[in-house]
Each structure stands twice: as C-alpha cells, then as structure tokens.
C-alpha cells in the first residue's frame, strides 16, 4: 500500500533526484532543445517538496493537488503544464485517502499519463515524455493483472519507462521544441522521457 508518507517521500526523493540530475537533463535538452529541462525540473520539484513540507497535506489527493499547483506555478516551459497536468489529474483519482492500493496506484498513474497525452497531443513514437509514460502505464497494468503488488508494479513501470526513454534515441521528434530539428533530432535521448524515467524510478524506490 502506498501511504501518504510514502507519497511525501516520493516528492522528497524527486527533489533530490532532479537536483542531482540537473546537468544530465539540461545537457540532453541542449542537444535538441533549449538547455533548460534540468533547471526546470529541479526548480519545480524543489518548490513542490518545500510546499508539502511547509504545509503537509492531509491526504494523498491533496498532496498530489498541491504538487500539481506548485509545478504549474514554478516550472513553466512545456514540461510545467505537462507534469502539472499529471498530478492534477491523478489527485481526484487518488482522492482524500491516507493510502492507495494497487488498483488505485494503477488508476492514478493511468489518469495522470492520459492527461499529459491529451494536453500535449503526443502519441508514443513522437519522441516525447509520452514514449516513457505509455509503456510505463502499460507495464503497471500488466504487472497488476499478473498479481503484482505495488512494488512489483512500479518496478515494472520504472523498467518500461527506462526502455521507453532509450527507445527515443533513434527517433525523429514530432512534438515539442526538438521537432524543429527534423532529422537532426535523431541520435539523442528525449529529455522529457529521461525525466519521466527518473520520476518512475523514484516512485519505485519510495511508493512500493
């Protein structure tokens, strides 16, 4: 079961992870974007972490909502509204609860990822974060269908997201800033797919 404390730990972990991986993500964005993705993610999750420390939310839904609003207010760029939408859509699915079971975890991740896809109008293969989100949500579902616990589900999701991230390497971008490059976007990993893989790896480490 993913408890409120674990969700809080997840956000704390994401703060640490994006601070650590700031240069990595920014370097990826420098290659095919505008060299700010790491900066954006680090700023956003530092603020989100601070927000839930300063005013600890009473339930999981409230926590996800607080993270959503903080990301929307502090990140900007393409990734701000997209990750913001993830948490915004996930919040009511989780609801005013103290913990979330396997079904709930699947449902909230699926709703969040669907929100990103809807907002950004991207599909798997467009070389965006959706290339990590799509397989991750599929793996979550498959793992639960096979009787997996939350930890197993998130392990599978993290692995699928990492594979999805790596699969962006040979693709030509069709959405976001990288799409302006056409053929020249080939041979680079999409920064948003990389930050999504980190987000799911952290989920696996903290939520299960």
């Amino acid at each position: 079961m993913a408890t409120l404390a674990r969700f809080a730990a997840w956000i704390a972990r994401l703060d640490a992870v994006y601070a650590e991986q700031k240069d990595y993500l920014t370097d990826l964005d420098a290659a095919i974007g505008d060299a700010d993705h790491g900066i954006n993610m680090a700023r956003g999750f530092a603020a989100a972490h601070q927000a839930i420390v300063a005013a600890p939310p009473a339930d999981v839904g409230a926590l996800l909502k607080a993270v959503a609003m903080t990301l929307i207010r502090t990140v900007g760029g393409a990734s701000g509204p997209l990750y913001g939408t993830f948490f915004l859509r996930a919040a009511p699915v989780a609801g005013a609860v103290a913990e979330v079971d396997a079904a709930g975890v699947e449902a909230l991740f699926a709703a969040g990822a669907a929100g990103i896809a809807e907002r950004g109008k991207a599909v798997v293969g467009d070389k965006t974060m959706i290339d990590a989100w799509g397989p991750a949500v599929e793996a979550l579902g498959a793992s639960r269908a096979a009787g997996g616990a939350v930890a197993d589900m998130l392990a599978a999701a993290a692995a699928a997201a990492a594979a999805g991230r790596d699969a962006t390497l040979p693709l030509v971008a069709r959405k976001g800033r990288a799409s302006y490059l056409g053929e020249r976007s080939r041979g680079h990993i999409d920064p948003g797919a990389a930050s999504t893989a980190l987000l799911l790896a952290a989920a696996h480490e903290t939520l299960g």
Partner: protein, 333 residues
C-alpha cells in the same frame, strides 16, 4: 560564462527591478506574481493586449509595454515560458471589460501555459482570445512538427494590435486583424555565435570558428542548416529569398520590414545587412513602407540577425504610424 549579473537565479527579477526603476513613468512591475503592466492600466474601454514568454529576448516583451502597444507582459525565466498563474494575474490587472487578446509565440511551452491561463480567465468570466505567431520559415509546417516557431512578426503584431486596440477596436475585430497579420508575416534567423543561459552556465550549442546556424530559433534551437560563414551579401540573399518565397511576397507588394539583431550584433553590421536587403527587395519589386533596424527580439548575447517581412497596406501603415510610447519603441509622442 561572462555576464554582468549577480546570482544566475536572480537575473530576471533584478533586471525587471531595473526596468521599473528606469521607466516608472511608462510601466509598473508586479513581483509576486511576476508581470509588467503599463502605468495607466487598466485603460478604460479598451481591449487589453497581453503577451509574454521566456526572458532573454529583451526588449521583447516587457520593453514594449506602454501606450499603443502592450498592456501587460509576462516574463518567464530565461528561455522558459511564464506560468499560467502569472499570465492570469497580468490579464486581470489590465482588463477593463472589453476582454483581452493574448499574443503567444508558437513554442509548446508558451502555448500550453497561455492555454491554461486563458481557461482560468474564462472560467472567471473574462473574455480572452489568443493568437499564436508561427512565422519562422526555417521550420517545416507539417503534422510532423510542433508547427512553425514564433519570431519577429511578434514585434510587428504587438505594435499593430496595440495601435488598433487604442483606436477602440473590439476583441473579435482585433483577433481577426491578428490572424491576418500572422498569415502574412514571415521570418528567418541566423546565428554566428551561441548564447549562454545564465543558470546553465555554458553555451546552448557550439559553432566552429567558421560555422553559422541558418534558421536558428530564438532560444538557440538549431535551424535548417549548419553552414560555413559567408559574405553578408550571400547570406542575406539566402535568408531574404527563403522569407520572400515562402508566402510568397510578390512584385508590387507593400511590406513592413524588421531587420533584427540577436543581441550581440553591432548596429554597423545590421545596417550593412539592410543595404543588401534593400537591393534584394527593390529587385523583387517590393515596396518597403516602414522598417525597423535594431535589437527587438533577441537571444541574450547571440551574434546574428533575423529578418521579418509583413505584407502591408494603407490600413496597417496608418496603424503603424499611430503614437507609441514604450521603453523600446516610441514615436508620435
């Protein structure tokens, strides 16, 4: 990284403090949430013109706040679009009952954040129309891209819509005028050197000593082609050719021209380029009705230029000539 700054994370806010200190007669800056409005906002009985985007393109947008141009500008972090809450707050601060027009450059981040802001405004009963500038001919416009990027037409649009709003046009008429301007404005840029986002600390891309980037974006995004440095004449022929052929602009067309420096280009070079352009458009039979030569939509300290041509007519030229009073553009008063 050599910059005249204090801490990289304070660059935007400190620079806006300077803008407010220098131009308190023209504009006011709100720091939380962050936005810039003209000193006499909200102006009664006028549609509010609001724009914004990542910082680092100064004077765009905050330098264009004032009479006859923008009512509000929303600066984001460097090269990062502003967040919806700022855009919403800025819109609220300047709207006067006749609604607001959002001018958005076509970058995924800007579009998504402005969309969210517009939704928030509308949910609260404020009428908002948005126009998306996508004038960069360096980018293929197809379902395989996020569409063309917004470039110099933004500057011309802000000036012309600002004038039209000042004349009392309604939101629908302004939105229609905006779409017409977006349909008939085309741009392309060239970088000689990269630029460095302060928080990143190193250049966004690298160019060899003899290399240039043709079709560069205003965030240093790579463009059409990495090419060898060439004489200004050939370069302008390539850039003007691409811009002219795209619409296309034809013999007898009236145009408004923006020959724009990227931030690190000396005025001497811009005027030298204007000389080449003048020859080319004259040979094509285009009539340059009005022109701007200078740094208007920049990329930090990047050396390079961009060219924008907008199809003009007597109506647009008359709007152009209306008084404008902003830090970066001023005439007629």
């Amino acid at each position: 990284m050599k910059k005249l700054i204090n801490r990289p994370e304070d660059v935007v806010v400190e620079s806006l403090h300077g803008l407010a200190a220098a131009h308190g007669d023209l504009l006011r800056v709100s720091f939380d949430p962050l936005f810039v409005v003209r000193a006499d906002a909200p102006v009664a009985d006028k549609v509010a013109i609001v724009s914004g985007g990542g910082s680092g393109h100064e004077p765009l947008h905050a330098g264009f706040v004032g009479r006859g141009m923008l009512d509000a500008a929303c600066p984001g972090e460097v090269f990062t679009s502003p967040t919806p809450d700022r855009i919403e707050a800025a819109t609220r601060a300047v709207v006067s009952g006749r609604g607001a027009l959002h001018i958005v450059k076509n970058y995924t981040g800007d579009v998504l954040n402005f969309e969210t802001a517009a939704e928030l405004c509308r949910a609260d009963g404020i009428e908002v129309e948005a126009v998306v500038v996508a004038d960069d001919v360096a980018v293929e416009d197809s379902t395989f891209t996020a569409g063309r990027r917004g470039l110099g037409t933004t500057v011309l649009l802000e000036r012309l819509l600002g004038a039209a709003a000042e004349r009392g046009l309604g939101l629908d008429a302004l939105a229609a005028l905006a779409r017409r301007i977006c349909d008939t404005g085309r741009s392309m840029g060239v970088a000689l050197t990269p630029c460095t986002v302060p928080a990143a600390g190193r250049p966004t891309f690298t160019l060899a000593d003899d290399e240039i980037e043709i079709g560069v974006g205003i965030h240093g995004e790579p463009g059409r082609e990495r090419a060898k440095l060439r004489p200004a004449r050939e370069l302008m022929e390539q850039v003007a050719g691409a811009v002219i052929d795209d619409l296309p602009f034809r013999d007898g067309d009236d145009v408004i021209v923006l020959l724009n420096g990227m931030g690190g280009t000396p005025l001497m070079e811009l005027y030298l380029l204007y000389n080449e352009l003048h020859r080319i458009v004259a040979a094509k039979g285009l009539r340059v009705r009005r022109r701007l030569v200078g740094n208007y939509i920049t990329s930090l300290e990047m050396a390079g230029f961009s060219l924008t041509l907008l199809k003009a007519d007597d109506e647009l030229v008359a709007l152009w000539d209306d008084p404008v009073l902003t830090p970066a553009l001023r005439w007629g008063c």
